[in-house]
């Protein structure tokens, strides 16, 4: 296999990149949607926080491959179903974000919250207009870590036959060539960088006060 293999297979690499993107973004988004209410609950109820953060912390220690293999038995999916990947990565995402969100909400200065209440903001208004926006900067940092980490974990799914950029690694292994591996690695790297940059840019747009303070 020669280097010309890469330009000849650009279409295939692009397809794999798209499924990789899909397998990364979907659990990240679902995880975010789940983590926000859970993190909020954890922030307001310290006992629940221990359970939620502790519980998800333990789930996070389960190796991804083990989780991919175990999940079908637990949720009744087929072993080759991409849903397994989505569910596993969603768990990792929630595990990372729930703590970030709880800590972020708790880091809002009490004096700011009290001022908001004293001015006449109701509890819900205070949460959505003051507390949640002020927790955005740590949340965005957390999201950047999560998305990059998810890009990397998705590759492991190749070992159970779900095609994405990780499939290039297994291909390189079976054909004893490092060329597909280099291609997969490069594509993963670019994908991670692009997603990280995208979230950072959106984050900057959403939190203009952070730069003003700098």
């Amino acid at each position: 296999m020669s280097w010309s293999w890469i330009p000849r297979h650009l279409d295939d690499i692009w397809d794999l990149t798209l499924s990789h993107l899909w397998l990364t973004l979907l659990p990240t988004l679902i995880g975010l949607v789940i983590a926000v209410p859970l993190g909020t609950l954890a922030a307001y109820l310290p006992k629940v926080k221990q359970i939620i953060v502790g519980g998800f912390g333990m789930l996070y220690t389960i190796p991804s491959l083990a989780l991919f293999v175990l999940l079908p038995g637990i949720i009744g999916t087929k072993i080759l179903d991409p849903v397994n990947i989505v569910v596993a990565l969603t768990i990792y995402t929630v595990a990372l974000l729930v703590r970030v969100i709880a800590d972020g909400l708790l880091s809002v200065p009490p004096v700011t919250l009290q001022a908001a209440t004293g001015m006449g903001l109701g509890l819900r208004q205070r949460f959505f207009k003051v507390q949640l926006p002020l927790a955005l900067p740590p949340l965005i940092s957390g999201l950047r870590v999560v998305v990059v980490s998810n890009v990397s974990i998705v590759t492991v799914a190749a070992t159970i036959g779900i095609s994405q950029l990780g499939s290039l690694f297994t291909m390189g292994f079976t054909r004893r060539s490092f060329i597909p591996i280099v291609a997969g690695l490069g594509a993963c790297l670019i994908l991670a960088l692009v997603l990280d940059l995208l979230i950072a840019t959106i984050g900057r747009r959403l939190t203009p006060w952070v730069r003003a303070a700098g």
Binding site: V111, T112, Q114, A115, A116, T117, G118, M119, G120, L121, G122, Q125, V130, P133, L134, T207, P208, W209, A212, A213
Partner: protein, 356 residues
């Protein structure tokens, strides 16, 4: 009018932060609650807007019991200014100011026009409108805090140590400007401070609180200074209360004398052995001169003077015990003697002739 009737705040462990407190904050006036830290003054303030619920007693706003009102609606009728302003860090100045009116459904354009007026009112340039709180100095933040409290034009205002987080020079400026502002808006204000000087300056009425918000004395600044009810109050007023009381004494017919004064162009005609006031071409005091000695600083006061204290200060600040009086345009009107100021301050004191 804000009325507190037998208000008590008792915590579950039995400690009483406020015990059976009653006072009335009259409409359109500033009532200053002053006392040492931990005396329950902030607790008292927060019971008025129900950030803390009273255990016993009644609090009435213009006759309406606060506990019978929706908390959120109640708070929107009460401007709230706190130490360090408590601005929303993620919102620009204009958005901070318009928060409450926006929540109350006032149109955005209308809110912003009003907010820009408020910026003028609190002495901030329009260029601050788009800044974030992190880009403001302490004094500027506090001005925005006051503007924000006024945004929904509430009849009442609660102020908790509003000027204590800024340096003394800015504080003095903010206090003076706030007094001028209050003359225009005439809100019913309860202000909490640990700084007796602030209470004396801002309060129409002062309530001095001791432990568990027990009232040690209630009265006008002059009443407190001239007749402190007990040792607690006189200790709290501090050592210069006699001097401060002069700030509330009217300067009556202080006799003015037309000299010693000389035009800058006639400097040669000044007596080299005594301090002479030099006037510039416009007739404004420009300094004191004695022979080759010169003092540029003049503690001139507008005449008629606002109080005996400023007269006393002017006379003491001059090199020869003479105070300088000017008119509204700063033009020299005359000098007055330290002795005459003291004579006015001496009330009816007479020399003691010994035991009869």
């Amino acid at each position: 009018m804000i009325e507190l009737q037998h208000v008590t705040k008792r915590y579950p462990d039995g400690t009483e932060a406020v015990k059976d407190l009653s006072f009335t904050a009259p409409t359109g006036q500033i009532t200053a609650l002053v006392g040492p830290s931990g005396c329950g003054k902030t607790t008292t303030l927060r019971m008025i807007n129900r950030l803390i619920e009273p255990t016993e007693g009644t609090i009435l706003l213009d006759g309406d019991d606060v506990t019978r009102q929706d908390k959120v609606a109640l708070r929107r009728r009460i401007g709230y200014v706190i130490q360090s302003a408590g601005l929303m860090p993620h919102k620009r100045v204009l958005a901070n100011i318009t928060t409450v009116p926006r929540l109350m459904g006032v149109k955005k354009a209308e809110c912003e026009a009003r907010a820009r007026e408020l910026l003028d009112l609190v002495g901030l340039d329009q260029s601050f409108a788009d800044r974030f709180p992190a880009q403001l100095s302490g004094g500027q933040s506090q001005r925005v805090g006051v503007a924000r409290a006024l945004a929904a034009d509430p009849p009442f205002m609660l102020m908790d140590e509003p000027f204590s987080a800024v340096d003394p020079i800015v504080r003095q400026q903010l206090q003076q400007e706030f007094l001028a502002l209050q003359k225009r808006v005439a809100k019913t204000i309860v202000l909490v401070t640990h700084d007796i000087a602030e209470a004396l300056l801002l309060g129409d009425q002062i309530v001095v609180l001791g432990q568990a918000a027990a009232i040690e004395q209630q009265g006008t600044p002059y009443e407190l200074l001239s007749n402190p009810a007990n040792e607690f109050v006189s200790d709290f007023l501090g050592r210069s209360r006699g001097y401060q009381a002069l700030g509330f004494e009217q300067a009556g017919d202080l006799p003015l004398q037309p000299g010693p004064v000389v035009r800058a162009s006639d400097l040669g005609r000044a007596d080299p052995r005594r301090w002479t006031l030099i006037l510039d071409d416009g007739g404004r005091p420009a300094g004191w001169q004695r022979g080759t000695e010169h003092r540029a600083a003049i503690a001139a006061i507008r005449f008629p003077a606002e109080s005996l204290r400023v007269c006393l200060d002017s006379a003491l600040a001059g090199p020869s015990g003479l105070g300088v009086a000017v008119d509204a345009d700063g033009v020299f009107r005359g000098t007055f003697r330290l002795g005459d100021v003291l004579a006015q301050a001496a009330f009816d004191s007479q020399p003691w002739e010994g035991p009869q």
